[in-house]
Point group: C2
Chain length 197, copies 2
């Protein structure tokens, strides 16, 4: 990897966390300069402006999550295990979150829905990708006979995502993974009684 | 009501929406001046600084919600009806949200969890008040024999809140109340199979 590419990746990695913690408007180029140790020129050499940097930092953050979800389902044989594993990745939210600052999809959605149409559009696309991923697992469970054949996959994916994302907000608000553990217990109940055959 | 009190309330009403849409950092005093039609001095006569205004605007926003929830449970006889009614107040999210900009508790939690300890603390208190309210309804349902006597009220309140708040994010992200309708359908399933006797 060339020195330029390395610097570019370092800028993305650091600014992904800053945008995730402080939001788009709340993150200034001087915050990014401080975090990367670069001068303004060193950042603008790689990114045209704050908008371009924010969009690419969001892609970077979503990539981190995507990898995390792939790891979460690896080696799991049942659709139920995959579902629980993916929907529990924030179980250590106070000590070891997948990305510092919480879920970039949740944060970007909240941060931009009334203010930044371009980032909002990217958040919509990332949400659609996530929903497809969840529906894939749910359909797998129907085909394998684990889940109810008449399960409303679309509805279940939306409900599970709602609970998952809202719970990240609660865990972060109190900086306490106890809120995540309690959600996981009820999540298991919901899967057991509303999704499984 | 004196003229001063009226102006104060008008400032709170307008700035509650601005903070709810744009967040604390994303809202400037000039945004507030524009929305209220007041000069800077006219705002500072009532509020010491942006922090004080934001804290009081948050209280105002939570008050709007509190009234909305009281209306939602009024005249409902069963705990199940109360629960569904309260957890469906965003069913018209794209046309008629309880407060423009989405849920102030969700927005403030996300906006401030890494950046503004004072507002975060107020968001924690408002969340605790909300959880007590939900647990009160759940306990009512246990006492009346509608809900399972061994229901884990704490867990259920956290799970329901997670789904409720995460769903507001989804409905707002796509500006589409279809996401809320689908969540409500699954919410009813969860109440039916995991909470009711």
């Amino acid at each position: 990897m060339s020195k330029g590419t390395e610097t570019r990746k370092m800028i993305l990695r650091k600014s992904a966390v800053i945008f995730n913690q402080q939001g788009f408007t709340g993150s200034s180029m001087s915050d990014i300069m401080k975090a990367t140790g670069l001068e303004k020129g060193g950042i603008y050499r790689h990114f045209k402006n704050k908008d371009e940097l924010a969009l690419e930092a969001f892609e970077y953050a979503i990539g981190v999550l995507r990898d995390r979800y792939r790891v979460a389902i690896a080696g799991k044989n049942s659709a139920e295990d995959k579902l629980i594993s993916v929907l529990s990745v924030y179980s250590n939210i106070d000590k070891e979150p997948p990305l510092e600052g919480g879920c970039p999809l949740l944060n970007t959605a909240i941060d931009t829905d009334d203010t930044h149409p371009l980032l909002q559009k990217r958040a919509q696309e990332a949400m659609n990708e996530w929903l497809r991923f969840l529906k894939f697992i749910l359909n797998e469970g129907i085909v394998s006979g684990e889940f109810r054949p008449n399960l409303n996959v679309e509805e279940a994916a939306i409900f599970l995502t709602s609970a998952f994302e809202g719970n990240i907000m609660m865990g972060k608000l109190f900086n306490n993974s106890g809120y995540v553990q309690k959600y996981i217990n009820q999540l298991k109940q919901y899967i057991e009684l509303c999704i499984k055959k």
